[in-house]
């Protein structure tokens, strides 16, 4: 009997297709041949597996058909444990939220950049150079009044005075009698030309010979033919530190007229802990920038350079030691005349009014054109 014939016989036997003598013969064979018996058992389990496979396939089909009729989506909505609404919002819209947030951050940065708020220039620190627009206006009013008086000459004079008020103004003071001046860098920054004007109202052309932006210091030299050497400078530069509570004062040009502002030294460090500056209690105004800060005996202890925008009387002055350093840093070939500092103090022992009288010839209004 070949394999295939045997398979056929077993299959027919298990299917109950054998009858009569054939069935008897096969049962006899099975009894006497354990191998045939084993093959019959194997075939039986195979048929069971096949049947089971078929049943399961059919059951799956039926189950799938039933499943089709269930609205799984709605059920899912109902049965899903809902996270709280913030998490849901994030899950559904996180890409949109991210984009919106990036745009917002970007916009803020752009705004800060264009308004200049990103720079170290803290809004609370106010530089004290003066914009001339105000002055312009007041002179214009003056001009009108003059016209009202119908005084043509005066009107012309006023107009002449008016032609060149400059863009910015600050204060500067002489270092030497031969025309070297010092002021704040921020006063002359970006200048096309610089003029200085003394207490008598005479203007001289000046040029910038050296600047130290990091210390906000600029040196000017008067190079005007009409300039006559000043007398010897009455103050000298104090090299040491000054003490808290010292009486100090400044003289400068916050307006067209020279102005005296008294105060005292309130802190050894300036704005935001800036150790290169003093804090002084002086009501400085725009235009005071670059003016000298002097102590009672007439020693120069600093340069007025800014104030705190929040507190009216809180101003800052660059310490004189940084001025000394800057003077030493001036390149020799920038100096057409010797820069010899005065070491004698001509103010000590004088009364305040006498001090100022002596001083004011050495203090200039710095006018900047750009």
């Amino acid at each position: 009997m070949s394999d295939r014939n045997l398979t056929e016989a077993i299959d027919r036997y298990l299917n109950g297709e054998m009858q009569g003598e054939e069935l008897l013969r096969f049962e006899d064979l099975r009894r006497n041949n354990p191998d045939i018996d084993r093959q019959i058992a194997e075939h039986k389990s195979f048929l069971a597996a096949l049947k089971h496979y078929g049943e399961r396939l059919q059951l799956e089909e039926r189950l799938n058909a039933i499943h089709e009729e269930i609205d799984v989506h709605t059920l899912k909505e109902e049965l899903q444990i809902k996270p709280n609404w913030i998490i849901q919002l994030w899950r559904h819209h996180h890409s949109k939220i991210s984009v919106a947030a990036s745009i917002a951050i970007f916009a803020v940065l752009i705004t800060l950049f264009f308004t200049g708020n990103l720079k170290r220039n803290d809004p609370a620190y106010m530089q004290l150079r003066q914009e001339i627009a105000q002055v312009k206006q007041s002179t214009a009013i003056l001009g009108r009044q003059n016209r009202n008086l119908d005084n043509k000459v005066n009107a012309v004079k006023a107009a002449i005075k008016n032609t060149n008020p400059g863009s910015f103004a600050g204060t500067g003071f002489a270092l030497t009698s031969n025309g070297y001046l010092v002021t704040n860098y921020h006063v002359v920054k970006g200048a096309d030309s610089v003029y200085v004007q003394n207490a008598d109202g005479e203007s001289f052309h000046a040029k910038i010979i050296y600047t130290e932006p990091q210390n906000d210091i600029a040196f000017l030299q008067i190079n005007d033919e009409s300039f006559k050497p000043l007398g010897s400078v009455p103050y000298n530069i104090r090299k040491g530190k000054s003490d808290l509570g010292e009486d100090v004062f400044t003289v400068g040009y916050p307006s067209d007229a020279i102005r005296f502002s008294p105060g005292y030294l309130t802190s050894p460090s300036g704005f935001d802990g800036d150790s290169t500056a003093y804090e002084v209690s002086i009501a400085a105004r725009p235009g005071n920038s670059g003016g000298p800060l002097l102590d009672t005996r007439g020693n120069l202890i600093g340069i007025i350079s800014g104030k705190q925008s929040k507190y009216e009387t809180s101003s800052f002055a660059k310490k004189s030691s940084y001025l000394m350093e800057a003077i030493q840093n001036i390149p020799a070939d920038s100096l057409s005349k010797p820069l010899t500092l005065n070491s004698r103090n001509g103010l000590a022992g004088l009364s305040r009014t006498q001090q100022i009288k002596k001083l004011q010839n050495f203090i200039f209004m710095v006018k900047v054109y750009n």
Binding site: R4, Y53, G54, L57, H67, I70, V72, K76
Partner: protein, 191 residues
């Protein structure tokens, strides 16, 4: 049967009788009654609604086979039985997918004894997979002939006509050739 009992939850004995009688209506009522429970279990434990469908159908098949084999005794409620089996099947699937976080949110009671049913089921599951593979490897026309004769219980006469055999003897010879090959393929996978 009226529409009300058609959609209501069947009693446990109704289900057992229905399965034994191959009742389509009872199967449907059973399926609809407990699917939400398993869906809830799975979608709240890292699964999708398709996962829920697979797992739930497998659990029903476990129950079905158990009832059909005649040794089904209700040790707990049918609901608990289906939940426990689904739960164990899903835990196994999660472990296979490496998605098991060691923590499962439960919504129903479950009994460890019933969960073991899921383990027994896997043996039959292996046989099922083997047969599926063997049939795939068998190829046509043998696959269809085997399915028609042994699964759909079609007569040799029907099969003769479908495949255009000129006489029944030819068809029979073909059938036994196929049967022998399928058997070989099936048992080969076992070894």
């Amino acid at each position: 049967m009226n529409s009300k009992s058609n959609s209501s939850v069947p009693t446990d004995s109704e289900v057992i009788l229905g399965i034994l009688n191959n009742s389509e209506v009872v199967l449907k009522r059973l399926y609809v009654a407990y699917f939400p429970m398993v869906l809830q279990l799975i979608i709240n434990n890292n699964g999708s609604s398709d996962d829920a469908k697979d797992i739930y159908q497998e659990a029903i098949i476990v129950l079905y086979n158990k009832v059909k084999s005649g040794d089904f005794e209700l040790s707990s409620k049918l609901k608990t039985y289906l939940y426990s089996v689904s739960r164990r099947l899903w835990l196994k699937r999660l472990a296979q997918l490496n998605r098991y976080s060691g923590d499962i949110k439960d919504f129903e009671e479950h009994s460890p004894a019933d969960e073991d049913e899921a383990e027994k089921h896997t043996d039959r599951d292996i046989q099922f997979g083997r047969m599926e593979n063997a049939l795939k490897l068998l190829g046509e026309p043998c696959k269809t002939i085997m399915e028609d004769f042994y699964i759909h219980n079609r007569s040799m006469q029907d099969i003769c006509e479908r495949f255009g055999y000129t006489n029944a003897d030819n068809a029979k010879t073909q059938k036994y050739k196929c049967l022998q090959r399928l058997k070989k393929l099936f048992f080969q996978q076992g070894n």
